[in-house]
């Protein structure tokens, strides 16, 4: 009986804190995405070849998120039944977007205006016990394109 009570308390804590943290994080993400809207990250590998090569730097952003008890319990039930593990979906969405935002921050810090060849990697950081996922790391990395003020070789652009 006491096991059941402990379990319910953990569940409640996980749910309460987890949900509060998640809502806050989403609000922060949406606000910062607005702010960084003008620094696009592009999956294409190279800028158009006809342009002279710009200054480039590798930029990356990473984030490690952990699952709360409530989300983990829901995921385990889903393991029995199957279907979308919605509790993890929102967590991973936040992690991806946060990683991209951190990469954008680094790019902006270098004076870049866009990032090419962006890639995402996800790794699980296990606690040591085989079946339990302790935390997830998402890494976003790409090539930041830094425009130099006053380029020596000016190229006439076709006005489209």
């Amino acid at each position: 009986m006491s096991d059941l009570i402990i379990f319910l308390v953990l569940l409640g804590l996980g749910y309460g804190f987890g949900r509060y943290a998640e809502q806050r994080h989403f609000r922060s993400i949406i606000a910062r995405e607005k702010e960084f809207r003008n620094l696009p990250v592009i999956a294409a590998r190279f800028p158009p070849a006809k342009l002279p090569p710009p200054r480039t730097r590798l930029v990356s952003g990473s984030v490690v998120v952990s699952v709360d008890y409530f989300k983990r319990f829901l995921a385990r039930l889903r393991n029995l039944i199957g279907g979308r593990v919605k509790s993890y979906e929102s967590l991973l969405d936040r992690a991806r977007r946060e990683a991209i935002l951190r990469m954008k921050e680094e790019a902006r810090g270098l004076g870049a205006e866009m990032v090419f060849n962006i890639k995402l990697e996800t790794a699980s950081i296990s606690k040591g016990r085989k079946r339990k996922i302790g935390a997830i790391e998402v890494l976003a990395y790409g090539t930041a394109i830094i425009p130099s003020a006053g380029n020596g070789a000016a190229v006439e652009l076709q006005q489209s």
């Binding site: 059941l4 749910y15 003008n38 800028p47 002279p52 039930l77 190229v155």
Partner: protein, 308 residues
Amino acid sequence: MVPQLFHLPVMERLLNYSNPEIPEGINYSKEHPLKEFFLLVVGVLLFFLSLVLILGVLAEFLASYVPFSAELKIVALQKSDEQPEAQAIENYLQTLAGRLAAVQGLPEGMTVKVHYVDSDSINAFATLGGQIVVFRGLLDIVPDENTLAMVIAHEIAHIKLRHPIKGLGRAVVIGTAIAMFNGGAGNDIVTDVLGEAGLLTALKFSRDQERAADAIALQALARVYGHIGGAGEVFRLLQQQHEKTGLITPEFFNTHPLTENRIEEINVMANNNNWPTMGFMVDLPPAFSQWLHQAREVEDGSGGQGLL
């Protein structure tokens, strides 16, 4: 004018690139997590409870097809330590059991053997192969033969109804089902919760079985003594013990129905069958306390071991 290369407006024109605001809720669901939680938990619990129920019923039904001779064979494999000091008390108990078994109409081949165990526990139980175990603690507090007869008749009724083998079958099947979930889910807390749910369902069978045994025991008592005088006394004694130890747990978590319920049910049964609730109470044999004292005198550490 020197065109500023790799500035966003230029690139957007060159690449025909646009970066609109993406709407929320594409990669995740806006459904409230508690809604999913309740749906899943209720669904899984209902499924598991019904599974345990069905398996339990099936197991009990199949277990009754195990012949009593098989139970005897299982029991024969176990060596029981004979206590010569307890011989006198066991003889008396066996004779009493024989009278009570005779009026219950046990099927062909079913035998009853009573064992005495030197322990303070105020209890008696029936197990495989027609074995009944009576503890010294219970024998210490029975005031007369009728009360003792009720206890023994109750245990004989369990044997007649094949409850020990059914209980064993049910426990094995449910235990296996829970072990299957263990492997599948791989999560301690989930299986703990499911295990508790399974245990609660298992308890219900035991309560029904106790009621059935009560009914048959009352009938045997009435046939042998002409009245059911000792029956209520047993449960009053049990209730006293419960109150002494201060344990009053809700019925759901007990394998035995609460004593108040049982006493009530006895009176109802007595009414329905016109059995007198009081009558002449047969005293325990004069040498009874002497036999108990004898059995207790020699303290042997392995007393009573080897029984199921």
